[in-house]
């Protein structure tokens, strides 16, 4: 379970105060996958980073008792100066996974070939997402955070993603941000809508989508 306890998060950009989460308390229960929806700029990605722990709240706490992935998305969680291979080795080590096996899996899965030996900063966003996705599938996470990662690679690669992911879904949960309601319906059982610094949680996904659609009108 991931628990947000009075989480307050704001940004100050050019003197303008932007409140992302205004003392939000909510929980993401284990055994359920959540779709997180919100209009552009509502703070979905920031919320994902807060859940992952790669960003900290200004006050309040985020508690996790499951192993949470880094937010998967086009930005990737990679060190730009390190090669793909170095990043994979590093991640395998920090999560206590077998380095050799992880490398084999990621090389095979991401299909970026010789680019494994090149610094990640030279990658296209698609390659980055492939590596990020492959690497996260190689590590056993209990909860995957997915930030708008739906259309990566060609149809064949996508089919493999869906297949691998479906397998992983049997053991792991997802918290997903997407603008595609179909994707959210495919993967999630519950929904949260981010609006005005609050998260409205729905145990019924259709109601969440309906609320989101009403906001969008």
């Amino acid at each position: 379970m991931i628990k947000l306890d009075r989480v307050f998060k704001f940004y100050r950009t050019g003197g303008v105060l932007k409140i992302v989460l205004d003392h939000v308390s909510t929980r993401f229960e284990s055994g359920f996958s959540y779709g997180l929806m919100g209009v552009n700029g509502a703070g979905k990605s920031t919320t994902m980073r807060l859940i992952a722990g790669t960003e900290l709240p200004n006050s309040g706490r985020v508690r996790r008792d499951v192993r949470v992935s880094w937010p998967l998305g086009f930005a990737g969680g990679f060190h730009p100066q390190m090669t793909g291979r170095e990043n994979v080795k590093f991640v395998a080590r920090i999560y206590g996974a077998d380095v050799r096996k992880t490398l084999d899996f990621v090389e095979d899965f991401s299909e970026i070939g010789d680019y494994m030996e090149v610094p990640v900063r030279t990658y296209s966003s698609g390659m980055m997402a492939r590596l990020s996705f492959g690497l996260s599938m190689a590590i056993d996470f209990e909860c995957y955070l997915i930030d708008e990662i739906t259309a990566v690679g060609d149809a064949r690669f996508q089919a493999r993603c869906v297949e691998t992911f479906a397998e992983r879904r049997k053991r792991a949960d997802i918290i997903m941000v997407s603008h595609s309601m179909q994707t959210i319906k495919d993967y999630c059982d519950r929904g949260g809508v981010l609006v005005d610094g609050q998260i409205m949680m729905f145990s019924d996904l259709d109601m969440a989508i309906e609320t989101y659609n009403r906001l969008n009108r």
């Binding site: 200004n58 990679f78 999560y95």
Partner: protein
């Protein structure tokens, strides 16, 4: 029930320690591999760099051909100043650089700023040990008698210098994590410290007013400490205040860790 909860708690602590151990090892391995130019030879360069740095300084100061400021061997006098200063300087510089260079790795949620700081520090202790041994070997080959009359004191002096460097490194690393431009003023400050640490002179021979101001410099005490291990009767003036140096170092480590705790969020942004 409470027993079970306790057991669960212990395992959680064990897991946490194991996880941090793994992260430290991964960070150290990464640093060894990428510290210089990202080549596997990097580790050799990491040793050769400070060693040549030390000998360049010894050569420049020895080439003037003037009589050693103290004792009867100029190389030994400069070495006993340069080596402790380098132990302090490299420790602080690379602990701080570690935060700047490894900041992107914080994108992996289980890597914390503290892991980066301590991985760097651990690596730097190993580096320094090798650098000191290599330096002593070269000096011996040059015909300098490097065995100090008080070896234990020399060891304490080097450890104290690294302890001080750790404190400087953590405080400045946290600042540099938030303001990357901090490296430049830090480097300038290190130069001032170099001049003010009595590496190439005998501070006790300076005028009273200068000595008063130098007595605030904890790095100078490290140098004095080292020389007191080599030279009989050296550093008997009031400058060699070991308690001040160790207190300064411990306080800055403490302050640095408090800063890390309170400014963690800003480093991540």
């Amino acid at each position: 029930m409470s027993v079970r909860a306790g057991a669960v708690h212990r395992f959680a602590l064990f897991d946490l320690l194991a996880a941090h151990g793994r992260i430290l090892v991964a960070l150290i391995m990464r640093d060894v591999q990428t510290r210089f130019f990202g080549t596997p030879l990097g580790f050799i360069i990491a040793i050769a760099w400070p060693v040549s740095h030390i000998f360049l300084l010894i050569l420049i100061n020895g080439a003037a051909g003037r009589a050693p400021p103290y004792g009867d061997n100029a190389s030994l006098f400069f070495a006993t100043g340069v080596v402790p200063f380098m132990c302090f300087n490299y420790m602080s510089r690379f602990t701080m650089l570690g935060v700047m260079l490894n900041k992107p790795l914080l994108a992996y949620p289980i890597v914390k700023v503290g892991d980066i700081l301590f991985a760097r520090a651990a690596l730097e202790v190993l580096n320094a040990a090798v650098v000191v041994i290599v330096t002593m070997a070269i000096l011996t080959a040059m015909g300098v008698d490097v065995k100090p009359p008080r070896p234990q004191e020399a060891m304490y002096a080097l450890l104290a210098c690294m302890w001080l460097g750790l404190g400087f490194g953590i405080v400045n690393g946290v600042i540099a994590g938030i303001f990357p431009f901090w490296f430049t003023p830090f480097a300038l400050f290190q130069m001032v410290l170099w001049i003010a640490s009595g590496v190439i002179m005998v501070p006790d021979e300076l005028p009273e007013g200068v000595r008063y101001w130098l007595s605030w410099n904890p790095a100078l005490i490290g140098v004095e400490w080292m020389r007191s291990a080599y030279y009989e009767g050296y550093g008997l003036g009031e400058l060699l205040d070991k308690r001040y140096m160790l207190g300064f170092a411990t306080a800055s480590i403490f302050i640095g860790l408090v800063m890390e705790r309170t400014m963690r969020g800003r480093i991540l942004q």
